[in-house]
């Protein structure tokens, strides 16, 4: 029998915001919450910012110059980098969910592995996008 004096294990039901850091979320859970966060980021910042840049870039020769000036500012580059991550993570996580819908990678080890692939692949491509955005190549 287990020792009744053992340290009580933490119990999580509907976790409160203050418990989030003590709660060890598994990989698929991290992918899931980042799917939401990246989606919300694109809804609030991504769509209006990209539409603004699109408008400046296609409207006229003059506005194209303004577009070039805006995207060469370091803060705009930082925002674009965050949006690149949001898009890439959302894309890969979305493809993973489509595969799961078709019961591909359905068992726990496969689901954990695909979650790790989503997190890793989106970060690697974000780094590449960052090198492009900051003009390394």
């Amino acid at each position: 029998m287990s020792d009744s004096a053992a340290k009580p294990r933490p119990e999580f039901r509907n976790i409160h915001i203050t418990q989030i850091l003590r709660y060890r979320l598994p990989g698929p859970g991290i992918v899931s919450i980042l799917h939401r966060i990246s989606g919300a980021l694109m809804f609030l910042v991504g769509i209006p910012f990209i539409l603004y840049l699109f408008q400046q870039s296609v409207t006229s020769e003059l506005s194209f110059e303004r577009y070039s000036a805006v995207v060469s500012h370091w803060f705009a580059k930082l925002v674009l980098l965050a949006l690149a991550w949001a898009f890439l993570h959302h894309l890969f996580a979305g493809i993973r969910y489509l595969l799961l819908d078709m019961h591909i990678g359905w068992d726990l080890p496969a689901a954990r592995k695909s979650a790790a692939i989503v997190l890793f692949a989106s970060l690697v491509l974000t780094v590449l996008a960052g090198l492009k955005i900051f003009g390394v190549f």
């Binding site: 939401r36 989606g39 809804f43 408008q55 296609v58 409207t59 894309l91 979305g94």
Partner: protein, 116 residues
């Protein structure tokens, strides 16, 4: 054991599930298409870039993609509000704001596109 039950409700749960996935696929296809078109541009100048969106195929593809983005975002944002915002009036207000904002995004995108 079979469950013989009368199915009730508006069925929008199933419809939204399907639309969320369909619109996601449309966005992926558009993304690949746009990347291919970009790679085929000889040089990224204003003329080439604006010329790309002056073509009718690109206007239509971008319009369809924008509608897919708006519908996709609506379902996602609505799910977030349903999960985290408990007071009904606040949730309703936020959902209404999201709809207005998304319709605004679509109209904005159309006016940009059809002026190129």
């Amino acid at each position: 054991m079979s469950l013989d039950r009368t199915v009730v409700g508006a069925h929008y749960g199933w419809r939204d599930f399907a639309v969320q996935r369909l619109s996601g696929v449309v966005i992926v296809i558009y993304t690949v298409w746009l990347l291919v078109e970009l790679l085929m541009l000889p040089e990224l100048t204003y003329g080439n870039w604006a010329g790309l969106f002056a073509a009718m195929r690109m206007k239509i593809a971008t319009s369809v993609a924008m509608i897919a983005v708006a519908y996709h975002a609506w379902i996602g944002v609505r799910d977030i509000f349903m999960d985290y915002i408990k007071p009904a009036m606040l949730r309703l207000a936020l959902q209404a704001s999201a709809i207005v904002l998304l319709i605004g995004y679509v109209v904005w995108a159309f006016t940009i596109l059809w002026r190129v």
